[in-house]
C-alpha cells in the first residue's frame, strides 16, 4: 500500500467533513460500476438517505488514497459524519439488523 499523499489526504478530509454521508465508490450512484458499490448505494437510497458519491475510478489517486486513509483494502467505503462505518459487508449486516437505520435516525 502506498503512502498517503498530503494533497489526497486533505481532499478526503474535505469530502468527509463537508458532507454528512459520503460513499467512496466505483462509478456514480446513478451508474455504479461494481456490484458492491451498487449494493451500498441501493441500500442507502432504499432507506432514504441522501449521500455524496465520490467516484474513485474518476480519480485514480483517490482509489489508493482512501484505502490508506481508512486502512481498509476495498471499495466501497461509507463515511457518516466524518466516521468510517465500513464497506459492503458491514453496511449490509447493519442494514439487516437495523443498526444502519438507527444510525441515520439519530
Amino acid at each position: 500500500m502506498t503512502e498517503l499523499d498530503e494533497g489526497v489526504k486533505s481532499r478526503i478530509e474535505k469530502e468527509i467533513s463537508s458532507n454528512d454521508v459520503v460513499l467512496f465508490m466505483k462509478g456514480t450512484p446513478v451508474f455504479p460500476q461494481c456490484g458492491f458499490s451498487s449494493m451500498v448505494s441501493q441500500v442507502l437510497s432504499h432507506i432514504g438517505v441522501e449521500f455524496k458519491g465520490v467516484d474513485v475510478l474518476a480519480e485514480p489517486t483517490l482509489r489508493d488514497g482512501i484505502k490508506s486513509f481508512s486502512d481498509w483494502p476495498t471499495i466501497p467505503q461509507l463515511y457518516v459524519k466524518g466516521e468510517f462505518i465500513g464497506g459492503c459487508d458491514i453496511v449490509k449486516e447493519m442494514y439487516e439488523n437495523g443498526e444502519l437505520q438507527e444510525l441515520f435516525n439519530k
Partner: protein, 77 residues
C-alpha cells in the same frame, strides 16, 4: 491469480489462532468467496476492527489476488 479456500483459511488461522473459519466458494470459480470467522480475539472489538484483523491476516492479498471475499465476523461472547 487467485487463492484457494484452503490458503485463505490457513492465513486467517495463522494470524487468529483460535478462530473457526467457514469458507464458501460462492461461484465455484476460485475468485468469489465468503468467509465467516469466529474468534474470542474479536471480543470487545468493533466490526471494523474485526474485519481489519482478518484483512491484516490476509497480508495485502485482499483487493489484490483475492478479488471478492464477503466477510462476516463474530466474537464468542
Amino acid at each position: 491469480m487467485s487463492m484457494t479456500a484452503n490458503e485463505i483459511e490457513t492465513m486467517i488461522k495463522e494470524a487468529i489462532p483460535d478462530s473457526t473459519v467457514v469458507i464458501e466458494d460462492l461461484r465455484g470459480d476460485g475468485d468469489h468467496y465468503s468467509a465467516h470467522v469466529k474468534s474470542s480475539l474479536f471480543n470487545g472489538k468493533s466490526k471494523i476492527q474485526q474485519h481489519q484483523m482478518v484483512y491484516k491476516a490476509l497480508k495485502g492479498k485482499m483487493g489484490q489476488q483475492l478479488h471478492a471475499l464477503a466477510l462476516k465476523t463474530s466474537s464468542d461472547d
